[in-house]
């Protein structure tokens, strides 16, 4: 595998985001900010029953609203072809699989008229009894098929027998509530049909996939659909695949023969764009008196909807983390009358490592062993479940470096040992991991006669700096200054590329860009000083078969999180005082944008630990906390000193850049580090998130 050329100068430098000035001056255009001539606006209508059938639609008041163009329901909406994703089959029949499911769409000349028309629609339902409460012991939960090694059930050895006879045990159940992605930009699309072509601006993490799915649903050849996602205001997984809004916008545009914009109302997002399923997780650890793990049993129950199986693979990381001769990791899914869950930043790892790393802390306390030392004793060079060697694993280095920077040495392990007036102070640690994913991608690089190089790849910049790092990769591979590299991304008319997700964007797109740049550099060298032809020279690459080739190695990023909390004994309020992460993620390609990703993930982990969570109302079947006043994302005042560091890691078994993904590992383990610090501060082990005063006060 070729290394980056020795003249490397752009990679590893803190280049500023290329589109930054456009964003802060408001000139960057998002999906709803495209204004095609004659544009109409759509407003969706959610179902108000949790289960049932739509039996009557009275739209006369809606149609009487001045400016209303049409009302789409299952009775008149275009028929869609079958798709793998049942959440996209909107307005196809009268069934209501959950409260909040879209049952109608009002299209009007103005946003206001569309909204007024939607409110005037009178719908009648035949309501059926529903169930939305997740119970870990429900007999209706089943073990899902394990398609990719992260799901289902894995068993090694005889974990139950060993657990029963081991000298030291932990048996604890942890609960994580439903969590919501809530990107700053809500899901939005502007769709238009031009002479049988569908052209869509969509807020998506991957326009190639959106193009393919729209072509399938509307029965079009792929080359008759163009999807652009030029700027995207966050997604955190909720825009990883097409969501109903883009299908509805395309339908409305077809019916009205006008461009149509649909922006989902913030309060609708929890029900229609996916959420992190709540989990009930039972952890059983057994160890010898030295803290060597003998058996690890991690059982996860999560919910899914009636129309789609989604598994929150919370036990997957347990298959990676610690050496243990006996292990069982089990996922169970309970179908309920709930909205369909989906990806949210580090799906599986975030809740799973909360449970595992909390249990490890409980084990450390039970044994009287320092929690860092306990993790070091159970470190391993081979992945426990697969027996493959790790391509690199620097968990120990992260723990040690974090301990040094955080000032862990000399920590009094006794709970309630440190106080400041009525505030109990505690510190905690937890490990982090996330797989170094990569997918095949295509890319092209063109050298123009004027000395400008243009990279073309349908990558998506969801606010992370994808344009910037791809330019750095191309510049170094070509051996030219980064200023001479243009980046074209965010359109399905560009070479096909996978989504910005699974912390794999840079690795996947960058590999193809690196390969195309390498080829181009070779062809330019063949010119031996002759001038370029007028049309320039182009090289194209496709990493199919290369990027997705089986590896002899288990490839994962690792990290360590440290937290210091203050617990107010008057109120039960917990405030984080310090948060520190150290990561081993291969080569860090851009320290500025990498740091932003790390501390963004840590902030989201802080929210998971202390402030975020929603409630399914048993009687009505919906999420109660649906806006940003009620669903408490951390605010600036909640984020104290937050530091992200990384260690040098040279891993030759990754991609040509030597990088691992960094978008998700910051959230993994952060909640456990905070929860462990709360235990250290208070002596109370709270096993249900978030740690709000109602849960904390009674334990002090």
């Amino acid at each position: 595998m070729p290394d980056i050329v020795a003249t490397s100068s752009a990679l590893g430098t803190p280049a500023e985001r290329r589109e930054g000035p456009d964003k802060v001056t408001g000139t960057a255009r998002y999906a709803a900010e495209h204004h095609p001539e004659g544009r109409a606006y759509a407003w969706p209508v959610p179902a108000t029953v949790a289960r049932g059938t739509l039996t009557d639609i009275d739209d006369k008041h809606t149609r009487a609203v001045p400016g209303v163009v049409t009302v789409l329901t299952h009775l008149n909406a275009p028929r869609l072809a079958e798709s793998d994703d049942a959440t996209l089959a909107v307005l196809q029949n009268s069934r209501v699989p959950h409260r909040g499911w879209y049952v109608a769409l009002v299209v009007a000349d103005t946003l206001e008229a569309a909204r007024e028309g939607a409110e005037a629609l009178r719908l009648t339902y035949a309501e059926e009894p529903h169930e939305v409460t997740l119970r870990g012991d429900s007999p209706d939960a089943y073990v899902p098929e394990d398609s990719d090694g992260t799901s289902g059930e894995h068993v090694r050895g005889e974990p139950d027998t060993v657990h029963a006879s081991a000298p030291v045990h932990i048996d604890a159940t942890y609960r994580v509530p439903p969590l919501h992605n809530h990107p700053m930009e809500p899901h939005a699309a502007t769709a238009e049909w031009q002479d049988g072509r569908l052209v869509v601006h969509d807020s998506s993490q991957g326009a190639t996939k959106v193009r393919d799915v729209l072509a399938e649903l509307f029965d079009l050849p792929g080359d008759r659909v163009t999807v652009t996602s030029e700027h995207v205001g966050g997604g955190f997984g909720a825009k990883g695949t097409p969501r109903p809004h883009v299908v509805l916008a395309a339908m409305a545009a077809r019916v009205t023969a006008r461009p149509v914009t649909l922006v989902l109302p913030r309060g609708d997002l929890p029900a229609v764009v996916g959420h992190r399923s709540p989990t009930v997780q039972r952890l059983r650890l057994a160890a010898d008196p030295d803290g060597i793990l003998l058996s690890v049993i991690h059982e996860v129950t999560s919910h899914t909807s009636r129309i789609k199986e989604f598994v929150e693979t919370a036990a997957a990381a347990t298959r990676v983390m610690y050496a243990s001769p006996h292990s069982r990791t089990t996922h169970r899914v309970l179908p309920l009358d709930v909205p369909s869950p989906s990806w949210m930043r580090a799906p599986g790892e975030a809740p799973g490592m909360y449970a595992l790393e909390s249990a490890m802390d409980e084990l450390a306390v039970a044994l009287g062993i320092d929690p860092i030392e306990l993790r070091l004793r159970n470190d391993t060079g081979t992945e426990p479940d697969s027996s493959r060697p790790f391509s690199s694993r620097n968990l120990a280095a992260c723990l040690r470096e974090g301990a040094r920077r955080f000032g862990w040495a000399g920590r009094d392990p006794r709970p309630r040992a440190r106080t400041e007036g009525p505030t109990l102070i505690g510190t905690g640690v937890a490990a982090a991991t996330y797989p170094a994913n990569v997918s095949p991608s295509r890319a092209s690089v063109h050298a123009a006669a004027d000395g400008i190089f243009t990279v073309r790849v349908n990558a998506t910049d969801i606010g992370t700096g994808a344009r910037t790092v791809l330019a750095q990769i191309a510049a170094d591979t070509l051996g030219v200054p980064v200023e001479r590299v243009r980046i074209d991304i965010g359109s399905s008319d560009l070479p096909d590329a996978p989504l910005a997700g699974g912390s794999s964007g840079t690795a996947s797109w960058g590999w193809a860009v690196h390969e195309a740049s390498t080829q181009l550099a070779a062809r330019l060298a063949e010119l031996e000083g002759d001038s370029l032809p007028a049309e320039g020279v182009e090289a194209v690459a496709d990493t199919e078969g290369t990027a997705d080739a089986d590896s002899a190695y288990a490839r994962h990023a690792f990290g360590a999180h440290f937290a210091e909390v203050g617990v107010d004994t008057v109120t039960g309020e917990i405030r984080v005082r310090r948060l520190l992460g150290v990561y081993a993620v291969g080569r860090v390609l851009n320290p500025r944008t990498a740091r932003s990703q790390f501390i963004g993930g840590m902030t989201m982990g802080l929210g998971m630990a202390l402030t975020e969570g929603s409630t399914l109302d048993p009687a009505f079947g919906d999420f109660v906390e649906r806006d940003l006043a009620a669903y408490h994302v951390p605010v600036q005042a909640d984020i104290p000193a937050v530091e992200a560091h990384w260690i040098d890691e040279d891993d030759p078994h990754l991609n040509p850049m030597g990088s691992k993904g960094i978008g998700e590992i910051g959230i993994v383990g952060t909640a456990a580090a905070i929860g462990n610090a709360v235990h250290h501060a208070t002596g109370a082990r709270l096993r249900e998130l978030p740690l709000t005063p109602d849960r904390v006060l009674g334990c002090l």
Binding site: T571, D617, V624, E625, V635, A637, D638
Partner: protein, 331 residues
């Protein structure tokens, strides 16, 4: 959202006349709550009478030592005003504990008093709510109600009043000044908000068409030690799980003056009169505070999921009392 007419009033008299002439009108101040409710369809006024430019934007000291706050004084300006900061710190602290910087810049004194509950069932047209739609029922009582009332609720309604400022005003014995077509009147801040009873749709004692023109802070508590403390789910921009506003004067180790009000626990700011009576004239010590607050909270009727509010509000009030007492001069 329903189309509406927008009118701007230049004088208080014109405002009340416009209101009377347009059935279904609402006064518009900073709009930080009303406009949201209109978008949600909870409020559907036919006419908005904009009162934000009325000449009610001043904080002024009156000859008797009281301070008049114009109804259009913005929350951020009021919190920063030297007269308020020096003489009524509890009010400044309560204001700064509320909302966010952006919202405080827009929100008015009058509007703050008249804001509606943030009960999620009240804000959701697809759910029953006796406050929004009398007789439709209460979705919260058996539903999600961690944030709801523990004191003074009724079978009809368990909502809380969300204002921080109003809690401080109740503890300061402030007066709310109203102007209606029948003339002017004042209502004690402490009696301005109602308990829900069987009319939860009525948040306050205000009569239809009456306009809040100002708030009067009396001279009695001026300069006395006072403080506000609030517990919440995150460090800023969250409503109170519970809060306590206290004014306390201790002389010769005896409590000479005390006012206590709780927030986030009832349909209105909750004046802890039983606790005040128990404390007045007695010692300012731990045991007295505990006894008094226990007596007050004997009336608490927590719901299935909000019993934590009883110790929470007790702790908050106890903490503020203790801190104020500790700061009192020793003789």
């Amino acid at each position: 959202m329903k189309p509406f007419q927008y009118l701007r009033a230049r004088t208080v008299e014109e405002a009340t006349t416009l209101y009377a002439d347009h059935p279904g009108a609402r006064y518009l101040g900073g709009g930080t709550n009303l406009v949201d409710l209109m978008k949600q369809g909870v409020e559907t006024p036919g006419t908005l009478v904009d009162v934000s430019r009325l000449p009610l934007g001043e904080v002024r000291e009156l000859p008797d030592g009281s301070v008049r706050i114009g109804a259009m004084v913005r929350n951020s300006d009021l919190a920063a005003h030297p007269l308020v900061r020096e003489r009524y710190p509890v009010l400044s602290q309560a204001l700064l504990a509320g909302a966010s910087g952006q919202l405080r810049n827009a929100a008015t004194t009058g509007g703050n008093l008249l804001q509606r509950t943030r009960c999620p069932y009240f804000q959701d047209l697809s759910k029953p709510c006796n406050k929004r739609a009398p007789g439709s029922g209460c979705g919260a009582r058996e539903g999600v109600h961690r944030d709801h009332a523990i004191l003074g609720h009724s079978s009809q309604c368990i909502a809380t009043h969300p204002s921080d400022m109003a809690v401080a005003l109740a503890a300061l014995d402030a007066q709310v000044e109203l102007h209606g077509r029948q003339g002017e009147r004042t209502v004690a801040a402490d009696a301005f908000h109602r308990l829900p009873g069987d009319r939860p749709d009525q948040d306050t004692e205000i009569a239809p068409g009456e306009l809040v023109t100002g708030v009067l802070l009396p001279p009695a508590p001026a300069g006395l030690p006072s403080a506000y403390r609030k517990a919440r789910d995150r460090a800023s921009y969250a409503f109170a799980l519970a809060s306590a506003a206290v004014v306390l004067s201790v002389e010769d180790a005896r409590i000479r003056y005390v006012r206590i009000a709780f927030g986030g626990v009832a349909h209105r700011p909750w004046r802890a009169r039983r606790a005040e009576e128990a404390l007045l004239g007695g010692a300012a010590d731990d045991a007295a505070f505990s006894r008094a607050l226990r007596a007050e909270l004997a009336a608490a009727e927590p719901l299935r999921d909000n019993a934590f509010k009883v110790p929470l509000v007790r702790n908050l009030a106890h903490d503020v009392l203790t801190r104020l007492a500790a700061a009192a001069p020793r003789h």
